[in-house]
């Protein structure tokens, strides 16, 4: 399929999911996400718990081979059997053999994503074994013959009405079922009987402790308990990464897993089983023999699955994925996931932000390729992840690898000539275009306004859409002939070096320099009003644009250039002030991966978001009266700015200068850099933005000045609201005209 053809197909698929599943997904995931914020806020020391959890996982994965040996010895000493399966086929063969040996006719299962990964059900069914999912969500999917759309609440894409229709059609009960209560009780009875007659119980494991051989299962329904109690043969299937060194290591995870996922402080049941358990099996084939007197010989098998995990462990970039406890926070906190769910934002088995790492590791990069672009790098999941995985980075790295797997024959002479990047010829034209935004901006500005006129002509837009997938419904940036740096060079600083309280470098990000020059001018005037002397040197693009397209080498080269230029300013004691949060986030987060540690730390420790810097000046005695204020503001922070915890400075400064601020609470505006410009994602981007539109068109917000910290948020708000959005620093600009 041609690129534009596959973009259309992708757009159509997303539109269809938005229509059919979008509402249920949105309602459920947003509920979970709000619950998470509430629930973790009740913890005395959330950050310390997360740090503990992270440390335990780092240590466990580092020592994994030794811990696996230990588990094997412990479980066998307890009387169980351990089988280490190399891959899915190996695991399924073993599980089939166990079922065969026990002459099992029916296997009852509690929820396990790992068994989804292995496709155990299909393997057993091929042997004629009846497999019954007992988790209500999984059961609904089994009846509907659908796949999970969420790793914790697998059927969350189905509304109650749709579930009721499905159950009524399939089972034809005397009275049609309607309420959640009726549906649940029907399922309880139906599954209860199936569990009573089952021969083998299969569970996953959330954690396995090496010292005691204990399986920890986090559940709410009680089906895992029944599955184990009512059968004499228990097969637990888990990835090797689930092993932790000691029983005590469970503590932080117990407190974090439910809160992070569905926003429950703790789930109803945490089963701590050290199998084969002594607790007698309830044998419904002998209904009149007292349970305690039953003569049941319990059998236990732990199947530890490698299936690519040991190779992930050797992979410096994917290793972190193994720390994942599959809580689902990275799905629920993701604006794109909230709109389309795991049927779009997921691969063969896993869904949500971390799915890229899992899919690339266990199923191969093809499975990750289909949805990896849905991670925009907004980073809202980073603070939500209980084990501190840099999920956007994993997405970036896999995107980079996918770029490299591209068809070398797709070499595009035009772009090869135009774009001085470090990437191989196979990379997709669209990615290359957005990744080289700086080059485009330079060219566009040098030839403005002609370049703007040409770009906005219909033939040019059509070509841009067809070749590079730039959606025709988006307004293109309007390049300015006079860049911020040109302007400043001819105007010069207005604060004398001798009188200045400070001297700073104002980082000329590509957008401010070439497109939104006004916000750059406002920033200069605000800084000068605070008696700060400004320098605007020629600094390279931060690498954000190429990185967002998975062009890691190009981003790496940019980071070196940026640091090279800024180093002497840092030596001279000048702070670096940044207007665009996504560039600041590069300096504060991603440069850790791209620069030597000392360079990274120096730049990070001396660079500030502009309103954060203004806040600091005011705190240190600068005069707030020199700034404009006194306006009613509707403020949308920026996703990466939030992840860095910087948005409170903007609100505080605006309030200090007498503004009335109403802040949005949506995770992301939906534009996310270049994402919303891409024709295949336009509808999704607008759907995500819709929540912001709703908030800012409510009566309390409708007449306010709309303010956003990020470039792409400004653009998105512009198209959502059909009124212009400004940067907060423009509100403070002493030259601001009244009313703006």
């Amino acid at each position: 399929m041609s690129n534009s053809g596959s973009r259309e197909a992708k757009a159509a698929h997303l539109r269809q999911l938005l229509e059919t599943e979008g509402d249920a997904v949105a309602q459920n995931t947003r509920g979970f996400n709000a619950g998470r914020y509430d629930s973790v806020s009740r913890l005395d020391d959330y950050e310390a718990l997360k740090a503990d959890a992270r440390e335990i996982k780092e240590d466990a994965i580092a020592r994994l081979p030794e811990l696996i040996d230990r588990v094997e010895r412990t479980v066998e000493a307890n009387g169980g059997t351990v089988y280490i399966a190399d891959d899915a086929a190996d695991a399924n063969r073993y599980i089939s053999d166990v079922c065969d040996e026990r002459s099992a006719e029916r296997v009852v299962k509690s929820k396990s994503m790992t068994t989804e990964e292995l496709a155990v059900n299909e393997a057993l069914e091929a042997d004629g074994v009846d497999v019954v999912e007992t988790d209500l969500g999984e059961w609904v999917l089994q009846v509907a013959d659908e796949t999970p759309s969420h790793i914790v609440a697998p059927a969350l894409h189905k509304s109650r009405e749709r579930i009721a229709d499905l159950i009524n059609e399939t089972f034809d009960p005397e009275e049609p079922l309607e309420t959640a209560e009726e549906l649940t009780m029907f399922a309880r009875d139906h599954l209860g009987e199936l569990i009573e007659g089952a021969d083998v119980g299969m569970t996953g494991a959330n954690f396995i402790t090496a010292d005691t051989g204990t399986i920890a299962l986090v559940t709410s329904e009680g089906n895992a308990r029944k599955t184990v109690t009512a059968t004499d043969t228990h097969i637990a299937v888990a990835g090797v990464e689930k092993v932790v060194p000691s029983f005590e290591d469970l503590a932080p995870f117990i407190e974090l897993i439910g809160r992070s996922g569905t926003g429950q402080d703790i789930t109803s049941y945490l089963s701590l089983l050290t199998p084969p358990v002594e607790s007698p099996a309830v044998d419904f084939d002998e209904p009149e023999v007292a349970v305690a007197d039953g003569d049941v010989d319990r059998d236990f098998h732990l199947v530890l699955v490698d299936n690519g995990r040991m190779a992930m462990r050797e992979d410096d970039q994917l290793r972190e994925t193994l720390y994942c406890i599959r809580c689902s926070a990275c799905a629920n906190s993701c604006a794109n996931f909230q709109s389309v769910g795991g049927h779009a934002f997921g691969g063969e088995t896993y869904s949500g932000g971390i799915a890229t790492g899992w899919e690339a590791g266990v199923h191969g990069s093809d499975s990750a390729a289909g949805f990896n672009d849905l991670c925009t790098g907004c980073s809202r999941c980073v603070d939500a992840c209980p084990v501190g995985i840099d999920i956007p980075w994993i997405n970036t790295v896999v995107r980079d690898r996918l770029n490299r797997e591209g068809d070398e024959g797709q070499f595009d002479f035009l772009y090869e000539g135009l774009v001085p990047d470090e990437e191989p010829g196979g990379i997709d034209v669209q990615k290359r275009l957005f990744g080289n935004y700086e080059t485009l901006a330079k060219l566009g500005s040098a030839t403005a306004p002609v370049s703007n006129w040409i770009a906005s002509t219909r033939p040019a837009r059509a070509a841009l859409e067809r070749v590079a997938g730039v959606d025709g419904r988006r307004e293109l940036p309007d390049f300015q002939r006079e860049t911020l740096r040109d302007w400043y060079a001819s105007r010069g600083p207005r604060i004398d070096a001798a009188d200045a309280d400070r001297e700073v470098v104002l980082y000329p990000d590509t957008y401010t320099d070439y497109v939104d020059v006004d916000r750059g001018k406002a920033a200069v005037r605000v800084l000068e009003a605070l008696n700060v002397r400004v320098r605007i040197p020629d600094v390279a693009e931060s690498g954000r644009a190429p990185l967002s397209q998975g062009m890691v080498d190009t981003a790496d080269e940019r980071a070196s250039r940026v640091y090279g230029t800024l180093a002497e300013h840092l030596d001279a004691g000048r702070d670096v002030v940044v207007i665009e949060p996504s560039d600041l986030a590069m300096f504060h987060r991603e440069y850790e991966k791209l620069l030597p540690e000392r360079s990274f730390e120096r730049l990070r420790d001396s660079s500030y978001e502009i309103l954060e810097f203004v806040y600091g000046c005011l705190e240190n005695g600068a005069d707030a009266d020199s700034l404009r204020g006194d306006a009613e503001i509707a403020y949308h922070s920026h996703c990466q700015q939030r992840t860095l915890g910087l948005e409170p400075y903007t609100t505080a400064v605006l309030e200090e200068v007498g503004c009335d601020v109403l802040e949005s609470d949506v995770e992301c505006c939906g534009m996310a850099g270049s994402f919303g410009y891409k024709s295949e994602y336009y509808d999704l981007s607008m759907d995500v933005g819709d929540r912001l539109r709703e908030q800012f068109t409510e009566p309390a917000a409708a007449d306010r000045i709309v303010v956003a910290s990020g470039t792409s948020c400004e653009d998105q708000l512009g198209s959502l609201l059909e009124r212009d959005a400004a940067h907060p620093v423009e509100v403070l600009d002493p030259h601001r005209r009244t009313g703006r």
Partner: protein, 167 residues
């Protein structure tokens, strides 16, 4: 265990909508009579001076479990922060007694209430290494939201009642 811990535990139970009754060991039978709906099955209560009343079936068959309205079993630890009870699985089938009937009555000594998860896990760690093999940390009734909204009593008990022995 301080009185604070016990008060926190009670508050947590209240938040979970879990009924609770504090009682002296000598009055346990009366309390159980009030809170249980017959038929009731039970697993032995390993606390000094406390036993199951005679009207409780303490050697239930699978058939009895199916028919029982209430199941009584012992909790070895209470966790104040969460209102959780730790249910050790004993060879007499306490696990099935606490799981199959619609109402579970957990009997807990007040002195076994600990402040939080770390304390509970530390205690369980010692027990597990000493050979005790299975326990459930149960918090409130069984629940699911898989059918469109929150419903209690998915596969396990619909209601939980904690009887706290005030020694």
């Amino acid at each position: 265990m301080g009185t604070d811990t016990a008060a926190t535990f009670e508050k947590s139970l209240e938040r979970l909508n879990v009924e609770r009754t504090a009682t002296a060991a000598t009055d346990v039978h009366g309390v159980l009579e009030d809170v249980c709906t017959t038929p009731t099955v039970g697993s032995s209560l390993p606390f000094d001076g406390v036993s199951l009343p005679e009207w409780v079936n303490d050697t239930p068959t699978p058939e009895d479990l199916r028919d029982a309205e209430t199941g009584i079993s012992a909790a070895s630890i209470g966790i104040a922060d969460y209102g959780s009870v730790v249910l050790p699985a004993r060879p007499d089938g306490s696990e099935s007694v606490s799981l199959f009937p619609d109402t579970h009555v957990a009997v807990l000594r007040m002195s076994d209430i600990v402040p939080g998860i770390p304390e509970a896990i530390a205690r369980l760690g010692d027990e597990f290494r000493a050979g005790n093999d299975t326990a459930i940390i149960a918090t409130g009734p069984s629940a699911t939201a898989d059918m469109g909204s929150l419903v209690t009593g998915a596969h396990g008990p619909k209601e939980v009642h904690v009887v706290i022995l005030d020694e």
